[in-house]
Symmetry: C2
Amino acid sequence: MAKATDGNGAPVPQRLLAAATRLFAERGYDRTSVQEIVEAAGVTKGALYHYFGSKEDLLQEVYARVLRLQQERLDAFADAEAPVERRLRDAAADVVVTTIENLDDASIFFRSMHHLSPEKNKQVRIERRRYHERFRALIEEGQQAGVFSTATPADLVVDYHFGSVHHLSTWYRPDGPLSQQEVADHLADLLLRALRP
Amino acid sequence: MAKATDGNGAPVPQRLLAAATRLFAERGYDRTSVQEIVEAAGVTKGALYHYFGSKEDLLQEVYARVLRLQQERLDAFADAEAPVERRLRDAAADVVVTTIENLDDASIFFRSMHHLSPEKNKQVRIERRRYHERFRALIEEGQQAGVFSTATPADLVVDYHFGSVHHLSTWYRPDGPLSQQEVADHLADLLLRALRP
DNA sequence: GATCACATACCGACTGGTTAGTCTGCCGAG
DNA sequence: CTCGGCAGACTAACCAGTCGGTATGTGATC
């Protein structure tokens, strides 16, 4: 018998988080009962409320994880040694790939954020804003260097691109005609083309 | 005493629809109780269930209305007498303006569609698909005429643009620095710039 | 022009079912 | 023996939809 695992190989908190992520993405936060989550994780309510303070905490944890991941990756691409147009393209394509790889998190993110209480919502917004600004700085850098058009404010360009990223969970299907990388390349390409001076 | 109006100037079904739209956008579909809707509309449950079969029917009505409106407008712009790049630009800018003008409907649309039952969801998807295809046809027309780049599949270009349109309800604020028309012009501009050969 | 039949519009108490979160207690490891 | 980790019955609240009832209007009949 394994150490702290019964119905599955992973520790209970991770199992709960994984089950919650899948169910929230599938049916939405409000339509998913705590009972369903604990059953999917192979435990009971006692276990869930032992590790998490509330159902909402579970949702916030999902956000926090995906935000940390994406911020790390963006920072890595933005700080690389390369021309700004290259760094922007890589970052723009990477966020598409990682979003597709975590489509569940993405759909939860954009559909259920308003279910968080005001304080937690604020917290998430602050993190998101940091991400947005890092991306914007990249565009502004290119604009100042003269390699990107200044016709559109950088803020709007960021929202334009992230709109399409956010939209991915609505239309992208793994069994569709385009691979993750192809979609990412096309979307990054559209961004760069729109920014040509 | 007016004819069929007591607490307000509009007929009861419209009042219910307006109240539901506002509340669904504010708190989400599941978080809005039927009781709250009828109170906001100044009637009782009896009235609501007299005019609508269910809470879900109310949500579907919201969709049907906004879909009809946007399809009509797109058709008008697409069928106009003008060069294709002009027709596309006008259509792309118009959908931004009408979306901003109906931000409540927009946020309900992309946050609550999955709350519809499978059949109703399918119905909405069919209507949406028709809209998508009309828009795509416009892009393909321009590509065949050689005025738009063929580097990106037209389907993807449509999703790129509509991603940004959906995203509007997340970030656009009427008291922000940009007017509706300015945002619309910028977003249409980004689309056209990305499509330059 | 009075009466009856029937329909439309709406009211509001009630029901059956669901849900998040609590609490008491068991159990195995150190 | 005790303490973290967890089970599962329980509670208090809530909610969509129902249903019997009332009020007002309308058209037919005599």
